[in-house]
Symmetry: C2
Amino acid sequence: MHIQEFQKMMCKLYFHRDTARGVTGTYDWLVDEVRELGEALESNDKVAQEKEFADVVAWLASLANITNINLEKAALGKYDNKCPKCRRSPCECAF
Amino acid sequence: MHIQEFQKMMCKLYFHRDTARGVTGTYDWLVDEVRELGEALESNDKVAQEKEFADVVAWLASLANITNINLEKAALGKYDNKCPKCRRSPCECAF
């Protein structure tokens, strides 16, 4: 599924709730999901890790929806088959 | 671009660096990018916001690459055109 299509699906499912919650509340929820992803990564539970990755990308899409950002356009605007810093693929930036 | 295709592009660009940095270091960098996204959202700078959304999704893909998670499969496994809790579209969960 295209990133944009996933964002649209999240819009259909959750825009009414995301709008009511607002940008700050939705951002805070994203931070919480990132924390939960960190906890899952400390375990060996792949199913839990998949669910937490899903939640982070879902909340990121929700946040993009209520801030009028096209997540796919933003991602490809910066990462266009080259490292945005060294302009190489693979990246050759100094460590 | 498909979520999976974006993840593969990030793999090609950064897998060598992400592997060298490791899961904890890459997770910490993701957390930092989420913090920067929060700062950008407090401004009215749409270009900065787009760049920070790009960085968060890029680092999330990097983290998925080094933990052997298929981000698209994970996302669609949980969010399949229905809210995973109430099974409705749009979501009708109680607030």
